[in-house]
Symmetry: C2
Subunit: 276 residues, 2 copies
């Protein structure tokens, strides 16, 4: 293990997986690609490093990176009252979110505490996904629905996002999905297929750089999707990485669980723009 993955006074070799902890559809691919470190997030393994962290930063800034973010588990909300419930879960005004559009939102508790800060996708008038940070929003949403009298279904679907970030993400997704993907405005998405693999492609990411996410809709096809992305990225120096904390801190992106918790409201952490 490189020195850069050892944190002050704590040998990472002592952190162990357990059978409770789930693996992503890309897990085997990340092993083969030489992933050197995982953490645990939403009861799953999150790959955090393949190479020197400065090298990963420069790949993100100059070329294009692939990061397995399947741990951003989706909560899917459907049913006649799906809009009403989802709009209740977040202080952002979802009447301004079109079908085919996403929004970065805060999910807040009854006292305004930040429960989570997902990317929300509106797939239909009454069809939403929340791509979660590390807390069980499935339980919160089902709890809120419990006594609400609303007619909704709240589940965790088989959906696993993969981030493609950096300036050369554009030619990579173009090679995979054609010209139309370059027309996507920031936070919009399209539902499509790649070699018959059902995906949603979004103009989003957690990097501060231009980028896309490919939401895999069939967990059995993870290896195939990974290989197609790496192949399309070869001419652009594509490399698998973990999160770039250097870049996201430069960009002022907050990390739920560290920079904001249930003890903070959006007003405490500079996210008042998420409140309408």
């Amino acid at each position: 293990m490189g020195e850069s993955v050892t944190q002050a006074g704590f040998d990472i070799a002592t952190v162990q997986r357990g059978a409770r902890l789930r693996r992503s559809p890309f897990f085997d691919a990340t092993r083969r690609a030489g992933c050197r470190g995982y953490t645990v997030y939403n009861h799953m393994f999150l790959p955090i490093q393949y190479d020197d962290m400065e090298q990963e930063y420069w790949t993100l800034l100059n070329d294009v990176t692939v990061w397995d973010v399947s741990v951003e588990r989706q909560v899917e909300i459907t049913g006649p009252d799906a809009f009403a419930l989802t709009n209740l879960l977040t202080p952002r005004d979802l009447t301004k979110c079109r079908v085919g559009q996403g929004k970065y939102v805060a999910i807040t508790a009854e006292d305004g505490g930040i429960i989570n800060d997902p990317v929300l996708l509106r797939l239909g008038e009454n069809h939403f996904w929340l791509a979660l940070a590390d807390s069980d929003v499935l339980l919160w949403a089902r709890g809120v629905a419990y006594n609400s009298g609303m007619d909704v279904e709240i589940t965790e679907p088989d959906v696993s996002p993969l981030q493609i970030q950096g300036p050369k993400s554009k030619p990579v997704v173009q090679a995979l999905f054609g010209e139309r993907v370059l027309q996507l405005p920031y936070y919009y998405f399209l539902e499509t297929e790649l070699d018959g693999i059902p995906v949603v492609v979004t103009r989003t990411g957690w990097s501060g750089e231009v980028g896309y996410e490919i939401y895999l809709r069939d967990g059995s096809r993870g290896d195939q999707l990974w290989d197609r992305v790496m192949e399309a990225g070869k001419p652009y120096n594509i490399a698998p990485t973990g999160p770039s904390d250097i870049r996201r801190i430069e960009a002022g992106i907050l990390n739920h669980g560290i920079d904001m918790t249930l003890e903070d409201t959006p007003y405490h952490v500079g996210l008042e723009w998420l409140v309408n």
Copy 2:
């Protein structure tokens, strides 16, 4: 690392802690005591191994073990409607749970799915703790309360349990708390102090052996409590251990997240006795 902490095809050295992941009040003590492996549970580190697993099993069966289970975070429910809400969260009939008594309960969703299987302690008519398995019941409980019209407060207090298990746990807790602790019936508890450290001592555990848990009520006193327990246990070969999966499987104790999940009801996993 011993071979016994390497799991098939996966090098534990690649599992890494992150800043999101909290440490227990006993964390430094577990490091000093030579803990060789941690996993992640309720957004915290859970010590899982110090010695050969068979050796830990025999210590549990013959002598006495100490296991830091601070990850069993408490959800505290108080307020005028605390009994009503808590009784709604579980299918077990809490009218049969006295103040000073605990119950092993299932927390179930609207469709009967098992959200968690905590030890519940009733500290007052309207004062409950739930010592949790690995899911955010705080969010579920607050969600259910949200539209319920019930007057309750639901928080995560500064309470960290430590398990003392095995046949010689009796003389150890007797040395610490006196004769009266030996009078505790199974699943009863007492609120007391040790050198001014506020604790709750329960006749419970996750081991299949006779045992106690000491719930520390002041996180700043973790080191002190650990040292007092180790000192009292010295004549009885006390040793720190992780969970004994060998013993708990022998005893038929289920592990939430593996043996039962949100997809199972109590009837699917032989826990129908938790439903009244």
